[in-house]
C-alpha cells in the first residue's frame, strides 16, 4: 500500500534504523512497540540498529508482487544484525543469487526499496549488501 502518510510515519525506523531496547529484559525491538513481547514490559530506551550482520535465511523471489518487477529476481533475506536484532530486507548488488548462503556477512546500505510506479512516492530504506 503506497501511502505517503504511512511512509512518513516510518522514516525514523526506515531511514535511521531507530529501534528500542526493553528496560526489563534488554530485548531489542525493531520496530518499536508499546509492549515487549518477551517480558510484557512497557519501558524502553532508544537504540539505533548496527549495520553489520549475517544472513539467517533467504530466498530469491522470481515471481514478484506488483511494484517489484524492475527489481526481479529479488533476493530477500532474514538477517541477524550484530546486536541480535532480526530484520527482513532485500539483498542488493548480488551478481549471482546462487552464491548467497546462510551465514553470508552483510552490511545495510541506504537504497530504494520500492516505488509507486512512475508517478508515485519512492520508499527508501535499507538493503543488505554482501559485506
Amino acid at each position: 500500500m503506497f501511502s505517503p502518510a504511512r511512509a512518513w510515519r516510518e522514516f525514523p525506523r526506515r531511514y535511521r534504523l531507530e529501534a528500542s531496547r526493553c528496560e526489563g529484559c534488554s530485548k531489542i525491538l525493531y520496530p518499536a512497540r508499546l509492549v515487549c513481547p518477551s517480558c510484557g514490559g512497557r519501558e524502553f530506551t532508544d537504540e539505533t540498529l548496527p549495520r553489520d550482520g549475517k544472513i539467517l535465511t533467504f530466498t530469491v523471489v522470481r515471481v514478484p508482487p506488483a511494484g517489484f518487477t524492475e527489481q526481479t529476481p529479488l533476493p530477500i533475506a532474514l538477517v541477524e544484525l550484530d546486536n541480535g536484532a532480526r530484520v527482513m530486507v532485500q539483498v542488493g548488488d548480488v551478481e549471482d543469487p546462487d552464491t548467497l548462503e546462510i551465514g553470508t556477512p552483510i552490511r545495510l546500505e541506504f537504497r530504494r526499496v520500492s516505488w509507486d510506479g512512475e508517478a508515485g512516492v519512492i520508499f527508501y530504506g535499507h538493503k543488505a549488501v554482501p559485506a
Binding site: 541506504f110 537504497r111 527508501y124 538493503k127
Partner: protein, 352 residues
C-alpha cells in the same frame, strides 16, 4: 576566519558496463570510441540506487571522516544533480532526514548540469564563512542518462561525493583558500522539462563550452589567488570523458602527475555533478599535509567553478576512516550486459 572541508566521502555503485558491450548493440566501433574518448567502462546504478541513496552513503562516509560532527549541527544541505529522483520534492530533505540533520536546517536542491555539485559546495562553504551555519553539507551526485545510441551513452555514469564544511581549526582537513566562478549563457547541452534524455550541440560542447569556461575559470582562479600551476600538488577538472580533462589540464600547464590522481573517468565514466567532486575525494584520500589542490568543474549551460584547497595535517588521520574512492572504483565490480543495463536504467518500456 578559515573555512574548510571537515569531512568528505564518495559513493560509487558496484555495477559496470564496458564500452564494447554498448558499442556491440549499436554497431559502433568500440576501439575508436575508446581511443577517441579515452573511456573503457562506466559505473551503472542498480534499480535501487539513485542520487539520493548515493548521497546518503557518501554523506555517511563524510561524517565518519569528520570524527564526531553531530548531524544536528549541520545548518544547510545542498544536493546538486541533474537526476534528482523527484522533479518537485527535494533530494536534500531525504538526505537530511536520513542523517538526522533535520529540522533546524536550510535545504535546497540545485541544478546546473554537471556543476550543480560544486555550486552546492560553494554555497555550503559560503554560509560557514558568513557565520550563518556551523557546518554546511554540499553534495554532487548523479545517475545521469545518455540517450540510447548517442555518444553520451558511453560515458553517462553514476556516483556521489559529499563534503562537510566547517570553521573549527582542529577539524579542518583541507582549507578553502579561495574560489572563483566563470559563467555565461551557452546552450551546449540541455534537457527540456518532461523529456527523457538530454540533447547536445555535438562539437559545440567542446571549445566554446567545456574548454572556454574551464580555461577561463582555472586561469582566473590562479590569477586571483596569485598562484601558478607549478604551485599545485594536484589538479582535478570536470571529466565528461577521459580526454577532455587531460587536455585542458595540459593546456593550462599542469603535468600528467598532477592530473592523474583525480582522473577517474576512463574507468568510472562521467558522473556529471559528481565528476570533479568524486575526483577531489580520490585526491584527498592520498594527499599529504600542505598540498595545494585546484578543483575546476564545468556545467553545461554553461559555467565553471574553481576552488583552491590546502590540506592540513589533520587529513592523514581520517583518510582511512571510511571507504576510499579508488578501491570503490576498482574493487568488487559487477559487470552487466546491455540488456541488464537497459533494464536498470529504465530504458525498456514497461507495462503500465
Amino acid at each position: 576566519m578559515s573555512v574548510g572541508i571537515v569531512g568528505y566521502g564518495a559513493f560509487i555503485p558496484r555495477r559496470r558496463i564496458k564500452v564494447e558491450e554498448i558499442a556491440k548493440v549499436w554497431g559502433a566501433d568500440a576501439p575508436s570510441y575508446k581511443r577517441g574518448l579515452q573511456l573503457n567502462e562506466k559505473s551503472v546504478p542498480g534499480a535501487d540506487e539513485d542520487t539520493i541513496t548515493m548521497s546518503v552513503e557518501a554523506t555517511r562516509n563524510a561524517l565518519s571522516r569528520s570524527r564526531g560532527v553531530d548531524p544536528a549541527d549541520i545548518g544547510c544541505v545542498y544536493v546538486g544533480s541533474e537526476s534528482h529522483p523527484y522533479a518537485v520534492k527535494p533530494s536534500g530533505t531525504i538526505v537530511a532526514e536520513a542523517i538526522g540533520a533535520v529540522p533546524e536546517i536550510h535545504i535546497a536542491d540545485l541544478e546546473f548540469a554537471c556543476k550543480a555539485g560544486t555550486e552546492g559546495l560553494f554555497l555550503a562553504q559560503s554560509l560557514v564563512k558568513a557565520g550563518d551555519v556551523t557546518y554546511g553539507l554540499g553534495i554532487g551526485a548523479d545517475t545521469s542518462q545518455g540517450a540510447p545510441g548517442d555518444a553520451l551513452e558511453y560515458s553517462a555514469a553514476a556516483g556521489a561525493a559529499a563534503f562537510i564544511f566547517g570553521a573549527d581549526e582542529d577539524r579542518i582537513l583541507a582549507e578553502v583558500v579561495d574560489t572563483y566562478s566563470w559563467t555565461t549563457d551557452t546552450p551546449d547541452f540541455w534537457r527540456r522539462e518532461y523529456m527523457h534524455y538530454p540533447r547536445h550541440g555535438s562539437r559545440f560542447t567542446g571549445e566554446p563550452a567545456y574548454f572556454r569556461h574551464s580555461m577561463s575559470s582555472a586561469s582566473g582562479m590562479m590569477k586571483k589567488a596569485g598562484l601558478e600551476p607549478g604551485d599545485f600538488a594536484y589538479a582535478v577538472f570536470h571529466q565528461p570523458n577521459g580526454k577532455f580533462p587531460m587536455r585542458v589540464g595540459k593546456m593550462l600547464g599542469f603535468t600528467e602527475d598532477q592530473l592523474k590522481t583525480g582522473w577517474l573517468s576512463p574507468w568510472l565514466g562521467n558522473t556529471y555533478s559528481g565528476a570533479s567532486p568524486v575526483g577531489l575525494t580520490a585526491i584527498l584520500d592520498v594527499a599529504a599535509p600542505g598540498d595545494l589542490i585546484l578543483l575546476t568543474s564545468f556545467g553545461s549551460g554553461a559555467g565553471s567553478d574553481s576552488f583552491v584547497f590546502r590540506t592540513t595535517d589533520k587529513l592523514p588521520e581520517v583518510q582511512e576512516l571510511a571507504p576510499q574512492t579508488r578501491p570503490q572504483l576498482d574493487e568488487n565490480k559487477i559487470y552487466v550486459d546491455y540488456g541488464t543495463y537497459a533494464k536498470l536504467r529504465g530504458k525498456i518500456r514497461m507495462a503500465e
